[in-house]
């Protein structure tokens, strides 16, 4: 196992070392100590390695992730796992704004709460949040799944295209063109898998499903003021 002291050795060398890993690497496990809220930790990884960040992080941790498993043993600042392609990012604490934004694949697990704009413009990522999400979550979501075990804030799924949203608790309000939809057996099965991958033991039957009413796809003169 490799241990990297971020405070002593700086960010550039950490990310360069992580970028040097490939599918054949034998340096498969990395511990990053003393993150102290630093930005851009473990960004742009593309190797089947495991990175454990031992503390809280600042902006954009694990952004653009491919293949790697990143676990943050603390809370994450804005833009964690932004534009993830594949792999898995787990946050033991809370996540700040726009967690998992624009993600195209992979799984983001937030054990605490996520704040506003969680999964904004998601394009295939699976976001599993054990706590609550803030306002405008899954705004303009295009595909993928957002699972919220707690409550969702205002304007959930505003202007959503095709992402699926599952919420166990209360939804403060739905955004434009986001509606509740029937939970069919295939959704229960999908959610069961998402919850298992999300390290969450909630029962899929307790969730409600929300998605696009598909009324904003085409321009309608009635929408003009």
């Amino acid at each position: 196992m490799q241990t990297y002291d971020l405070e002593a050795n700086g960010l550039r060398d950490l990310n360069a070392a992580l970028h040097d890993q490939n599918t054949e690497t034998n340096q498969t496990r990395w511990d990053v100590i003393n993150p102290r809220g630093s930005h851009a930790i473990a960004v742009g990884l593309d190797a089947p390695i495991e990175v454990n960040v031992k503390g809280s992080t600042g902006y954009y941790c694990a952004g653009m992730n491919k293949q790697a498993q990143v676990r943050i043993h603390g809370s994450a600042g804005p833009g964690v796992a932004e534009n993830m392609m594949s792999g898995k990012v787990v946050i033991d604490g809370d996540a700040s704004q726009y967690a998992g934004a624009t993600g195209r694949g992979g799984t983001l697990v937030i054990k605490g709460n996520a704040s506003s704009r969680c999964g904004i413009s998601m394009k295939g990522i699976d976001n599993v949040v054990h706590g609550n999400v803030g306002h405008m979550s899954a705004f303009m979501g295009q595909s993928g799944n957002l699972v919220v075990c707690g409550d969702a804030g205002e304007a959930l799924g505003d202007s959503i295209y095709e992402a699926r949203l599952f919420v166990r608790g209360k939804v403060k309000s739905l955004g434009a063109d986001c509606v509740e939809k029937e939970m069919r057996p295939e959704h229960i099965e999908l959610l069961r898998d998402l919850l298992a991958r999300g390290e969450c033991d909630a029962a899929p039957e307790e969730f409600r499903r929300y998605g696009s009413a598909r009324q904003l796809y085409n321009f309608k003169i009635d929408n003009a003021y």
Binding site: R36, G37, S38, G77, D94, Q97, S116, G134, H135
Partner: protein, 309 residues
Amino acid sequence: MCGIVGLFLKDKMLEPRLGALLTDMLITMTDRGPDSAGIAVYGEGAPSHTKLTVQSDTPDEDFADLSDAVQAVVNAPVALVRRDTHAVLNVPAGTAETVRAHLRREVPSVRVMSFGDTLEIYKEVGLPADVASRFDIASMSGSHGIGHTRMATESAVTTLGAHPFNTGADQCLVHNGSLSNHNAMRRRLRREGIHIETMNDSEVAAAYLTWKMANGATLGEALEQSLDDLDGFFNFVVGTKDGFGVVRDPIACKPAVMAETDQYVAFGSEYRALVNLPGIDSARVWEPEPATVYFWRHGETTTPSRKAA
């Protein structure tokens, strides 16, 4: 961008370290704004006296006989303590407005940064490390304080455009964001007789809170009403003589992290700003909710936080 920090001490044992802790927090936020920096400290006050913190770009000339000139105006002894381009004048309570008017008329190169029983504000163009060392902020003790490092958007990079802003006795505000209705609000507040020095949007926010509190609102109520009346992006951190408040606009794009222990309540634009605080590893750390007012007062045992309507 802009970086803001705040520290409200519950434990008196930490008071001698207030300036040092705040300085460290603000320096960590340097990359959020290189234009100007400032710190407000609530320290010791003298009985029956008001502190006037003044600034001059030519302090050697302006401060040489300033205390004598002010003494003549108020007919009482006036102590002057100089720190670099700033000086704190201790004037008899109730004379601050007279002195301010005199300075504006007779010594316009001396500008008032703040007034109040315990508040002192130090701010200049430059980086936090340089500004803090010019005034030796690290040596200051106090019960609470706030700091700001600025990336200017809405008005000029000048000393007067630096934060924190003081518009009422012992009140100060720092702001991360930009207000879009500040011109109309400035006209309205000036009609109401509120003194506003600059064309800066954040000063209008400070003046708005002063106006609300002058009309009987508590700090918490004034902050709550600001959510209705101020348009734009904002995280405000504000101080009063015994209070400390935080509010974010409903969209809440600007970053904010808070931490609370038995010893203090702390605010930072980023978690990085808080990592050197004592006991941070066991602190309750959270992101303040949008459109929600948080405020604390010395002497109150509970930690109130109230949802705005």
